[in-house]
């Protein structure tokens, strides 16, 4: 039984102990690069000229007030919300945004991009008509063309690792919110993504159930998954991330290591936001 959520990368192993944040080799390979990404929604500039990079195995938290464009930015990464301009590079695949008819990215480009990116939504978005197991196997069969037996083997491994082996045959409605979100994580991981996007994965959950989800995410981070996490869980962001991005009115206001952004933010606006969320 494999004890990892993420298949082992062919890189030097530090032994039985999973590589923690600190043991990670510095100066790694570039996994994500956004260049000048902008997106208008209903006449409102939701994302303004955002450029970011993230190295393989690093965790980035995106914080900021409601309406800052965090979700929209995340959805630009896998083109669920196709940017109006700019480019998105993930793990060797670059897609340039263009909304003009005929010049839009080809379906095959988007498929290549999405194959590398897993996404977890605020409201889980499990498929309610399918069992937990089928939720995790469906895309493996349709997208990766795995056969049923392989897909089920991988699904059961992942469900076991997120603590839900006994829920394989249940339907989503029979699971708690925390369990549904862990199934959603397993569903995304089943496609062996190289980047995981999380949009407020615990916002719809009671703190107790949210904690189950956060511990799975922590495990993922320790195993070296590259992650971009939109979150209001400041404590979690501080502990787990390598970098924190503060967004305001669609733009990146401030970016830096958690020690700096949380303790000595440069911008007054960041300070006010942090005071508002931390001193509740």
């Amino acid at each position: 039984m494999p004890d990892r959520l993420v298949p082992m990368e062919p890189e030097p192993d530090t032994g039985a102990v999973p590589a923690g944040r600190d043991q990670r080799p510095a100066g790694g390979r570039e996994m994500v690069r956004l260049e000048g990404v902008s997106k208008e929604l209903g006449g409102h500039q939701a994302v303004r000229d955002v450029s970011l990079t993230l190295e393989a195995g690093k965790v980035m938290s995106i914080i900021g007030p409601s309406g800052a464009g965090k979700s929209t930015l995340l959805r630009c990464v896998n083109f669920l919300a196709p940017p109006d301009s700019g480019s998105v590079f993930v793990d060797g695949v670059e897609v340039c945004a263009d909304r003009r008819p005929g010049l839009e990215p080809r379906a095959s480009e988007l498929a290549e991009l999405r194959r590398r990116v897993g996404m977890v939504f605020q409201n889980f978005e499990l498929f309610p008509h399918l069992s937990v197991l089928r939720n995790v196997t469906l895309a493996q069969e349709r997208v990766l063309k795995r056969d049923r037996a392989d897909a089920e083997r991988r699904a059961r491994e992942l469900l076991e690792r997120v603590g839900l082996a006994d829920k394989a045959d249940a339907f989503p409605a029979q699971c708690s919110g925390g369990q549904q979100q862990r199934v959603a994580i397993a569903r995304a991981l089943a496609l062996d993504p190289h980047l995981m996007l999380f949009d407020e994965p615990t916002s719809a959950l009671d703190p107790e159930l949210g904690a189950e989800v956060l511990s799975v995410m922590r495990l993922l981070a320790e195993e070296g998954m590259t992650m971009m996490i939109v979150t209001h869980e400041m404590h979690f962001a501080e502990q787990v991330s390598d970098s924190v991005v503060v967004m305001h009115e669609g733009a990146v206001l401030e970016e830096g290591p958690p020690e700096v952004v949380f303790k000595r933010p440069v911008h007054e606006r960041t300070r006010r936001f942090l005071n508002a969320v931390l001193d509740r």
Binding site: R115, E125, P128, L138, R142, F171, A188
Partner: protein
């Protein structure tokens, strides 16, 4: 009483087959009509919307007259029975397109996104994720339409198709016992629609249990 029941019930075949054929035709033609009404291309979308509204706005009897007395007699010769099937088939297509649309709209938009994020293409998302959830809404709507259609087909008697209503009319003219004959005809319509209603209830309950949204 039985002396009337025999002749009237000979019309059951025509009523049931016209209803069934028109329903199947409509269920099939409703799909391209739905697709066209959601086309990204404005002229296609507008034409489809216009057709859907037109087919539903004009009473079926008028469509039948247009098909049977208008088109059929001038262009091609069309018998009353196929004219009835084609007419009600087209009307059904418009209603079914709307029923399918309601089914799609009942599924959260985010389910499309969850499928797309997993790398499924639109057709795959429709087939495996959105369609199966939409069916929950489509089946009761389709059953309601099928029952309405069964009753609506009574107007085919005016173009001379020997359905239940046509035979009841001629039987009552022959015998003069209109009340009893039309009560019998009404009873036959109820009996014909009963299985439809039961099937609708049963599948609806089953789907609700399986999906439990």
């Amino acid at each position: 009483m039985l002396e009337y029941l025999g002749p009237i019930s000979e019309g059951i075949a025509a009523t049931v087959t016209i209803t069934a054929l028109a329903f199947v035709l409509g269920s099939i033609l409703g799909l391209p009509l739905l697709a066209a009404s959601r086309s990204p291309w404005l002229p296609v979308r507008a034409l489809a919307r216009f057709l859907i509204d037109l087919l539903r706005a004009v009473p079926p009897i008028v469509w039948l007259f247009i098909l049977f007395f208008g088109l059929a007699q001038s262009l091609v010769s069309l018998d009353a029975y196929p004219a009835a099937v084609i007419g009600f088939g087209c009307i059904s297509a418009a209603y079914m397109a709307e029923i399918y649309r309601a089914g799609l709209l009942a599924v959260r938009r985010q389910q499309w996104e969850a499928g797309a994020a997993l790398g499924l293409n639109r057709l795959q998302v429709l087939r495996t994720i959105v369609g199966p959830q939409a069916i929950r809404v489509v089946i009761p709507g389709a059953a309601t339409w099928a029952i309405a259609l069964l009753k609506e087909t009574a107007v085919v008697s005016v173009i001379g198709v020997s359905d239940v209503t046509f035979l009841a009319t001629s039987e009552s003219q022959r015998s003069g016992d209109g009340l009893l004959i039309f009560l019998l005809a009404g009873g036959i319509y109820i009996l014909m629609s009963l299985p439809l209603a039961l099937v609708a209830r049963w599948t609806d309950a089953r789907l609700h249990r399986a999906v439990a949204l």
